[in-house]
């Protein structure tokens, strides 16, 4: 019985991994060869040619730089805001705190697509259409991040904060020098998750970015799909490039990755 389970588990693993493998195969073979019979099942030597063609067709280096830039700026700002807000909610008592927390949690229940039309009109009114800030700014306040950071700071001993005050530390300094370093694991989880969310974001960037110079990788890939003559190798290379950083982050930071993932579901 126990032995019988190995085979389905192995087949499942192959199904899970095959698309990744095939992305590599397709990205390193010529487009014309991908749909021959039988198709290539081994990586080829066309990687650089495919990359050159992708650079020529969608300006891939520019597109990748846009993706990295937007994701990094968004992640830094959003994580910082999450940490600050989470700290304020966890460690200060003030009128309206409970209400604010409830409202922030409530926003998580509402699908962001309901905001699309008014946000689009707002961006048009700001003259922000086709700009990076249109992709970055509207979603900077992140309820999940705030909630996760608040939970992290709740356990921080008040006595240490008070000791900092007695030593003459300002509130900002206490936050950056004493409290925030103690919450590094949770902050890492928030950073990883905000980065992944922005890196993979598709619908909003698709609406906002309409010149090729400003495309992120997912938007650029989606425009390639619609062409009459699709460069499949280039498409797979681009998809691989879109997936690679996230895979790397996952493989290097598995623990923070999973703990961020579980933050909302299982305690402990």
């Amino acid at each position: 019985m126990k032995r019988l389970l190995h085979l389905p588990m192995l087949i499942g693993a192959v199904v899970s991994l095959f698309p990744f493998y095939w992305m590599i195969v397709a990205a390193t073979n010529r487009t014309e060869d991908l749909f021959t019979s039988p198709p290539p099942f081994l990586p080829g030597g066309e990687l650089l040619n495919n990359l050159a063609r992708l650079e020529e067709s969608v300006g891939f280096s520019r597109v990748a730089a846009n993706s990295v830039g937007i994701a990094v700026v968004y992640t830094v700002l959003s994580s910082l805001l999450s940490a600050m807000c989470g700290y304020g909610l966890a460690k200060y008592r003030f009128r309206g705190r409970g209400l604010i927390l409830a409202v922030i949690l409530g926003t998580m229940m509402i699908p962001f697509q309901v905001l699309l039309v008014p946000l689009f009109e707002m961006m048009a009114a700001f003259g922000w259409i086709d700009t990076y800030q249109a992709v970055i700014v509207p979603f900077l306040a992140n309820a999940f991040g705030i909630f996760l950071m608040r939970q992290a700071f709740l356990d921080f001993p008040d006595e240490l904060i008070e000791a900092g005050r007695i030593d003459g530390c300002g509130e900002a300094r206490i936050f950056y020098r004493i409290v925030l370093p103690a919450a590094r694991p949770q902050l890492a989880a928030v950073v990883i998750f905000t980065f992944i969310a922005q890196w993979g974001a598709f619908l909003w960037p698709l609406l906002m970015l309409n010149s090729e110079d400003h495309y992120t990788i997912p938007v650029a890939l989606s425009t390639m799909v619609g062409l009459s003559k699709v460069d499949y190798s280039g498409l797979m290379l681009g998809s691989f490039a879109a997936t690679l950083p996230i895979m790397a982050v996952f493989l290097f930071f598995q623990r923070q990755f999973i703990s961020g993932l579980l933050g909302g579901s299982v305690k402990g």
Binding site: L5, H6, M9, G12, A13, V15, S16, P19, F20, W22, M23, F35, L81, M84, C85, Y87, G88, Y92, F94, I100, I104, M109, P111, Q113, L115, L116, V117, P118, L119, V137, P138, L140, A141, D158, E159, E162, R165, E171, I196, W199, G200, F202, L203, I217, P218, L221, S222, V225, M236, S239, F240, T243, I246, M247, F250, L251, L261, L262, S265, V266
Partner: protein, 297 residues
């Protein structure tokens, strides 16, 4: 008594320290501008319409129009099929895998865990495109593999039924591992003593499962169910890139329809009404699932 507690006990009337607002304010301000305002605006717009370039009050017209619009039931029907087929399929599969990976005798558990979870790590747009290429009609890799074992080729993306199958298979591929990891954490949170106690009381594996595992896992399953339901109602990237909502709207989803109405036909009022129907459905379904599966006591 700590100093902080003393500070709290001070009589009211003192000016509050500005510090909490310096920490909380920026995020609250952003929420107000980019969440609260658009939320209200979209509700208002759902009662408005555009007449010769002028926004006019339309009452319930947009919602009434939805009732007679065949595409919205189509999109909701597709969503219902995914909810009834894909979500249970994925969660049962995830629970099964979590259960197997929780067995100490299984070798290569870490390897399996990573292999099954890896799809959850892929960028949405990228994986949808990879599946689009893998599932290409005549010469796609999957069809060639099917041909290799003597099965006929399937027109995955251009047949209304197979397109749904393709969409369901893609989503299942991507999200099963994610749910598996969450369920596995839930299983591992069950104290070993409870299994031992059940064994001492003479419970067999089936009884142990029903009396120990299921009750402990209930909140975790509920979490997976609600997040999957919400995700299904918000489906956009996969059908948009895999099939474009086609063929013949066979994979149209409410959010793709919202996108078409709002940003291709530029009918903002009608798009807002569609959005609010989705919001209400998500709220209702989450509530029903919570009531049905939530803590019973």
């Amino acid at each position: 008594m700590t100093l902080l507690a003393e500070a709290r006990a001070k009589p009211p009337g003192r000016r509050p320290r500005p510090a909490p607002w310096a920490f909380v304010g920026p995020a609250i301000g952003l929420f107000a501008v980019f969440f609260a305002y658009p939320l209200v605006a979209s509700l208002v717009e759902s009662f408005q319409t555009d007449e010769r370039g002028e926004t006019v009050w339309a009452g319930l017209d947009n919602y009434r129009r939805l009732l007679g619009d065949p595409l919205m039931p189509k999109a909701l029907g597709n969503t219902a099929i995914i909810l009834l087929v894909q979500v249970p399929l994925m969660l049962v599969l995830a629970l099964l895998l979590a259960q197997i990976l929780n067995q100490s005798w299984l070798r290569m558990r870490t390897g399996y865990r990573i292999a099954y979870f890896l799809p959850a790590v892929t960028t949405l747009a990228a994986y949808a495109i990879v599946f689009r290429v893998l599932l290409r009609a005549d010469t796609g890799v999957l069809n060639q593999l099917l041909g290799g074992v003597g099965l006929p080729a399937v027109d995955w993306l251009n047949d209304p039924v197979w397109a749904k199958v393709a969409l369901i298979a893609s989503i299942t591929w991507k999200w099963t591992g994610y749910n598996m990891i969450i369920l596995l954490a839930g299983l591992q949170a069950i104290p070993r003593e409870q299994y031992e106690a059940a064994a001492v009381d003479g419970a067999g594996p089936a009884t142990t499962y029903v009396k120990v595992v299921v009750p402990q896992l209930r909140p975790v399953i509920l979490f997976c169910l609600i997040t999957s339901t919400i995700g299904t109602l918000q489906l956009f990237d996969e059908p948009y890139l895999l099939t474009g909502g086609g063929p013949g709207n066979a994979t149209l989803t409410p959010i793709i329809y919202l996108y078409q109405v709002g940003f291709q036909q530029l009918d903002f009022g009608y798009a807002s009404a569609i959005a609010w129907v989705v919001v209400l459905l998500i709220g209702a379904l989450s509530l029903i699932q919570f009531k049905a599966l939530g803590r019973r006591r």
